[in-house]
Subunit: 161 residues, 2 copies
């Protein structure tokens, strides 16, 4: 699944990956895995659409169930930036972060400088046992920046008439 993970005998064989993790191999689960690999940060609804396009009928419940099992086994990762439905990606194990566009909602990966969790130290852990520092960068992508700058410029021009 992950390009970094070469410990499995058949790292590129999804069925073998499932068996190695004690998960039954079904057509639905394989279709879900292919959908997540094809489109990083895909939503559950997106997985449904892609799986249906590929294998015909598949229930939403099977997609949700498959995603759940794959996440539980660490084969895929579930993220959920604020204001977004859950999203799934097959890049696992490197604790990378995400950068989300406030305009169009696009999500891109950002390497973690540390790599291991938790990659940041809280000023005061208040007795908590911290196991993860989730970082999400927010901003605007190049396309949305260009759009905003252009419309802002036009708007400013209009006002200055």
């Amino acid at each position: 699944m992950s390009a970094h993970d070469t410990s499995h005998q058949h790292p590129h064989d999804p069925a073998a990956l499932l068996r190695d993790h004690g998960v039954q191999v079904t057509a639905q689960r394989l279709a879900v895995m292919r959908a997540v690999s094809a489109q990083p940060h895909v939503s559950a609804d997106g997985v449904v659409e892609m799986a249906r396009a590929e294998i015909g009928a598949i229930s939403r419940q099977a997609v949700y169930d498959s995603l759940g099992v794959l996440v539980d086994k660490g084969l895929i990762r579930r993220i959920q930036p604020v204001g977004s439905p859950a999203r799934f990606e097959d890049r696992v194990g490197d604790n990378h972060h995400h950068l989300v566009c406030r305009g169009c909602g696009s999500v891109v990966d950002i390497d973690c400088a540390v790599g291991a969790m938790p990659c940041l130290t809280a000023a005061d852990d208040l007795g908590y046992e911290i196991d993860e520092a989730e970082v999400v960068y927010w901003g605007r992508c190049p396309e949305c920046r260009a759009l905003t700058t252009t419309t802002t410029t036009e708007s400013t021009l209009e006002r200055s008439h």
Copy 2:
């Protein structure tokens, strides 16, 4: 609202605060502000309950509308850890972070070492204009740690019989 903000003539008068921000003063909005001040990281539903206990009838829509206006004006802050409904707090302006318990869902504030946004620099900004690095620490609170350690120990003892 915020203990750090002393620029307003009546920093402790919610009605004055609203007027200073060009927001109409209504009984519903004042009740919402008091609820958020009384219980940091309160959910919208929690605000509804507290406001109803205090001023009697108030619609859910009015609570949602009031929260929205207060967030827009920067008078309160909206956060939403994964798996949680939106939560609101009146501590604004210092870019503090949050620490969430995976067990009970409790949320506590963590000071930001930097203070200003964005407080972290992405390894590669990919042409994005980044304006915030949202950090959420995840772990288990002292109570949940004690509970898990105890049950784990008991469970281990049972197995070793």
